[in-house]
């Protein structure tokens, strides 16, 4: 399949290993990534806080650029960030609900860029693409290095699980269980722990640092107590607060954490046979030693 690919901002900035690992994993899944290199930041909910119209217009621009690729044969738009998914879905909800408003926004797009957004774009996070477009059976069939004995805790990120009606989560599409399903499809053990659907705290890191780090620290701690080897998350902003800020989070909750946090493409990549180095695991602040050891031990096992 071919996707109009929106990589987001942070995946190319402070968590560049996410962008890199996605690029390596895509061909193994038969996904052709057509990168929207002219598109802009989704606003991460902060621009919408300042001005809904600005956020809606900026995201309509990204949608319009994606639609150009879709008209050229791409199947849908894909993002690799929970926050992009949530922020963009919120804007899309407004744009799609009201033709008058959409026309108003399109006026701006026309004047600024000669673009137009047609309502109804399909924008899916990589996690949803794995389950809904590729399918778990297909995914399992591609696994070269099953995640056997790897205990993985899912960390979704708020923006991709709430509010459920906006994100199309219901009994037919239990998107808030997909991470667990993917982990199992890759052969891993899903760790149930209290913080899996809670907030990493990133949105308030500058406004209430203590509360922000307490959240990250607490959820990481819950995963430690549940004996997870690592967490996996589809959101690079969560990754920042859980990995980059882990030393500070550990201080905030007064305990050692040492919990590696993987990006979703990295987890998938390991199962598909890529090495930790190829997936950029060495760039993490919290060394994913347990995961690297595991992958190497399994690599040593395979072919032995």
């Amino acid at each position: 399949m071919r996707v109009a690919y929106w990589p987001g901002c942070v995946s190319r900035g402070f968590t560049a290993e996410l962008h890199g690992s996605m690029a390596k994993v895509a061909p193994l899944l038969d996904i052709e990534l057509v990168e929207l290199d002219r598109a802009n930041c989704c606003g991460a909910g902060v621009i919408a806080e300042h001005s809904q119209e600005l956020a809606d217009t900026l995201n309509a621009r990204t949608f319009a650029l994606a639609q150009q690729e879709i008209n050229n044969g791409a199947d849908l738009m894909m993002n690799i960030c929970s926050t992009c998914q949530g922020a963009q879905s919120e804007c899309q909800q407004r744009l799609d609900a009201n033709a008058e408003y959409r026309a108003h926004v399109n006026e701006t797009l026309q004047a600024s860029d000669g673009l137009e957004y047609q309502d109804g774009i399909v924008n899916k996070n990589f996690l949803w693409v794995l389950v809904e477009e590729i399918g778990l059976e297909q995914l399992t069939s591609l696994v070269k290095r099953p995640l056997t004995d790897l205990r993985v805790g899912p960390f979704y990120g708020c923006y991709i699980v709430r509010p459920t009606d906006r994100l199309g989560i219901d009994a037919e599409n239990p998107r808030d269980t997909y991470l667990g399903q993917v982990i199992e499809a890759l052969g891993g053990t899903v760790i149930d722990y209290a913080g899996s659907h809670k907030c990493c705290g990133f949105p308030i890191i500058t406004m209430n640092k203590e509360a922000s780090l307490q959240q990250a620290g607490r959820h990481l701690g819950d995963a430690v107590d549940a004996d997870a080897d690592c967490l996996v998350t589809p959101c690079p902003l969560c990754h920042l607060n859980l990995d980059l800020q882990q030393p500070m989070a550990a201080k905030a909750v007064g305990r050692d954490l040492d919990m590696p946090v993987l990006h979703l493409p990295q987890l998938v990549g390991l199962a598909l046979g890529l090495t930790p180095k190829e997936l950029g695991l060495q760039h993490h602040v919290v060394k994913p030693t347990s995961v690297i050891d595991w992958s190497q031990s399994v690599v040593a096992g395979v072919g032995a």
Partner: protein, 374 residues
Amino acid sequence: MAEFTLRLRRYDPSSGEAPYWDEHTIDLEPHRSVLEGILQAKARTDGSIGIRCSCRAAICGSCGVRINGQPGLACHTHLDVALARSKDGVIEVEPMGNMPVIKDLIVDMDAVHWKKIQRVSPWLINKEPVPEREYIVSRESMIDVTQTAACIQCGACVSDCLSMEVDPEFVGPAALAKAYRFVGDPRDAKHEQRLKDLSEDRHGIYSCTHCFKCIEACPKGVAPMNQIMRLRRIAGNDFHIEDRNNGERHERAFVKNIQRNGLLHEADLLPDSYGGKFSPRAVPELLSSLPIVATALRRRKMTIGGALLHPHKAPDGVKRIYDIVEGRDERVELNLYITGTDEDNAENPIQSVTQDVVTADAAGSDTGGAGSSV
């Protein structure tokens, strides 16, 4: 009729015992409510089960509980829906979170919920002069505020607020939604003061961690988090309140960051949120981050060049969008609660996007500083 198993969390403070689980089998039609199930158990077998309830019709707000881990009203949750969400075929009911438990499913709302409501001065402070008859205000402004006035004070949002979980002093979604009820009301005279108070509070509007739990929890469509974001918007845009919590600065920094770079340049965002790289607020933050920065550099997660240089520049299209939208005299805001969707309005298409726009400039205007709604 169908059989359901309810697992209720019991706690009797006078017994000296710890809380425990208690199972009851009930039989009711599947579309009946969990509350009806609990009341059947109470009526038939155990009258000591404690739960607050009154109207049974989701308007009094008494029966807030957690069902299979989700907060909501017991009278508003169907048995078959609750069963579908259950992990083990049993419908689990516990008291709401973030509040002390008095007995069984009854929590002390005075200690948390009502205390915080009182904190935001939840009464209209009249704009003078008070007219003889009614204040003349726009239809939209009253419908807008009715969204928050629809709050039945059930506590479901407070129960699961993630900020409050780590910071019990957080003013919270119910109280802040209540605050919007006045900031959005053109008849209230204290918009600026209310916003200043709640912006400067270390546990005020900028401590909301933006997790959407309260929007998901609310049985009445109040969407507390949206009201909090509107408070931030009005505080920053209309009153230019530069709070000590860096909330307004962070918002402004982010907006400018994208205007300049098109993509988020993280290295600028953090210091700019504090006021700039060399501002007195930023320096201690940057210093305390040095160990992390050092580690990140070592791991080649970031590079000095990447941090200091700006490899991305905003495309012209993005800059023009900013010019057009930020250049408007009045903020355009679509509130689906007021306008409804196109599908809802099939018979009566919305006339004009800018009709009845309430002025976004607060100072001195009769219709106050509420965000304009389209």
